[in-house]
Assembly symmetry: C2
Homo-oligomer: 356 residues x 2
DNA sequence: TTGTAGGCGTTATCAT
DNA sequence: ATGATAACGCCTACAA
């Protein structure tokens, strides 16, 4: 009656079918495909032969129903389109890091990517509703004061964030870098090479990375006994356009001799504005960015910047998550990856040797 | 005995539980959550109240087991890391287009992303093995002569490609642009503005996009009655580094006065090489790229290029796929999206008016 | 070492 | 309009 539905896909065999063809029971086939012990070598081979021949693959839904595991993890990127598209090397690199792990350990990767701020809550609701699709989550660019985090913790869904959490520090696993120190080093470099009017273009300040990089800027100046001029701090939201506009409208009129941008794309925007104003980089204004995207080496002048191990960030986050899921780790883990200040042409060290 | 496993997550209610709390049967609850008719308004409200209160969400695996639908689609990107990372705006934009659709229509997006050529076959095998995880697939940068395509067709898995297929043209749904015409227009523009030694840097030639753009280059020259000098055709593989090296090593010694690059990143590499050789863009050599990535507007000079509707490509592909899955469309669909030649500084129109 | 049978949480088919 | 019950395909005690 409904037999045609059942076999509409000619190659949709199940355990029972394989068992029959191999002359054994379902359980035995199950044991074989799950590599369990207590199966004789002969039986195992006999079953495997049929499995190969029929190209049999177990039904993931049926499997999940009983094991309550999906071998799928989710990656959540609520960020709106503009940022992602512009600073477009970050998320691919992060995803690549994640995927390197999931590919190796045979998990699939579900992508939860928002498209606008307005839909953020909708996205979170969908994720929570569908949480049984995944064994765990990697959260990128999430505000940790968000309800999503609280829900995940309550529902005991394993997750790892790739930013420093703003709260629950020790109860959450995360992978980040020491943004404060990195920014501090960058600004300190400006000081070391004799720059005195050092401005900064900040990232989005509702983001821990943005906050910490600004803090590093302040600390470097304070430790050097230099005043922090709030007018030299421009809000760039991590975006090229804002970096350009803030430099042109706010910073250039104040005659800075150095600009530390909290992202490479903002640094490129700043350089663009500087050039349009008829000034030179690094002779008149030195610039350091943050991220070390491929474009840093391709621009003219090449961009000095803080190298962020983005791929590694995704790789480590995914590794921790899978360990958590598989019970290889019980406790949360917090990892701080190292950064490196990469000196290129835009900060002028090759012109004016360090005098320190 | 194993009751603690069953209820380890305190909030894992099932239909039965909801039914009991609402004083109805499982079937009725099922009807309500699936918005089926033949439920009295009163009953519906009573059930919904319990559903809301308990924050109940149906188990996707159980649902999939019987409906054979997952409400998940897969996006396959076998490309190796280098290309993706450099030409990094393409895939995010494509994905964003896909996700705009899946978010709206309440599907989830599974990302199958390869990491190296060597693993390509492994990736395909995993996808085929796990095909029941998804209702359909979007294939990016796939060689259509690949066994993957044949398998998917045989298994009747719905899919849409975002390149022109090299075979099965009418049996496959795809979304592409007229690469031949677009490239032809770009080269024709060079001819129109008086350039006579026009070189090209090709994309990967095992890729239909790469092939078609080269064909367009040839056609434009032929139609203008100009000879095609094979030495002026350099293989750039879509990559920045190759674009740079080919320009420096192969093209510049031949004194071209224009270069058509099959991707923006290669165009940037070419410009870098041109500058290093002490030549000017566009005065000495005009350059046109392909893609219209954000960097096209950010470089100096700004890059003339062919605008590729990448986001739309993903959007349309996903729309077609979901229509296919939901039976709204029976036949395959082939869509050719329009491109546009965007004139900026690098091709010199603003310096040398069109003389035609 | 192998087989039997129950249950995972739904949807779908019958009755009622 | 509602309820009972049989699949869906797998894993997993438990029995043999």
């Amino acid at each position: 009656m409904n037999s045609e539905r059942i076999r509409s896909n000619p190659k949709n065999l199940n355990l029972e079918d394989i068992a029959r063809k191999a002359g054994v029971s379902r359980s035995t086939v199950s044991r074989v495909i799950n590599n369990e012990p207590y199966v004789s070598q002969r039986t195992r081979e006999k079953v495997m032969a049929v499995v190969q021949q029929e190209n049999y693959a177990p039904n993931p839904a049926a499997r999940t129903l009983v094991t309550r595991r999906t071998r799928v993890i989710g990656v959540v990127i609520p960020t709106s389109i503009q940022l992602v598209f512009e600073d477009s090397a970050y998320f691919p690199a992060l995803l690549q890091g994640v995927v390197d792990v999931t590919n190796t350990r045979d998990y699939a990767t579900l992508l939860w990517w928002g498209n606008s701020e307005a839909d953020e809550q909708t996205l979170y609701n969908r994720i929570l509703q569908q949480n049984r699709l995944m064994d765990g989550l990697i959260l990128a660019s999430i505000r940790t004061d968000d309800a999503l985090i609280a829900h995940l913790m309550r529902m005991k869904v394993p997750f790892v964030t790739v930013e420093r959490p703003t709260t629950y520090h020790s109860e959450i696993s995360y992978v980040t870098v020491d943004n404060v120190e990195a920014a501090e080093n960058a600004v300190k470099h400006f000081i070391d090479i004799g720059r005195r009017r050092i401005a900064t273009i900040t990232g989005a300040l509702n983001n821990p990375d943005g906050q910490d990089r600004l803090l590093g800027y302040r600390l470097a100046l304070e430790k050097a006994g230099m005043p922090v001029d709030e007018a030299l701090i421009a809000d760039g939201q991590f975006r090229y356009q804002t970096g350009y506009e803030m430099t042109k409208g706010q910073l250039l009129p104040l005659n800075p001799d150095a600009i530390f941008a909290a992202s490479d794309v903002m640094a490129h925007g700043a350089i663009q504005a500087i050039h349009e104003a008829g000034l030179r980089v690094p002779e008149d204004i030195a610039v350091i960015g943050f991220d070390d995207l491929p474009t840093a080496m391709q621009s003219k002048p090449t961009l000095s910047t803080v190298h962020l191990p983005v791929h590694e960030r995704g790789f480590v986050a995914a590794s921790i998550l899978l360990d958590l899921i598989e019970g290889k780790t019980q406790e949360t883990r917090q990892v701080i990856l190292p950064t490196e200040l990469v000196i290129r042409e835009s900060c002028g060290t090759h012109l004016r040797p360090v005098s320190k």
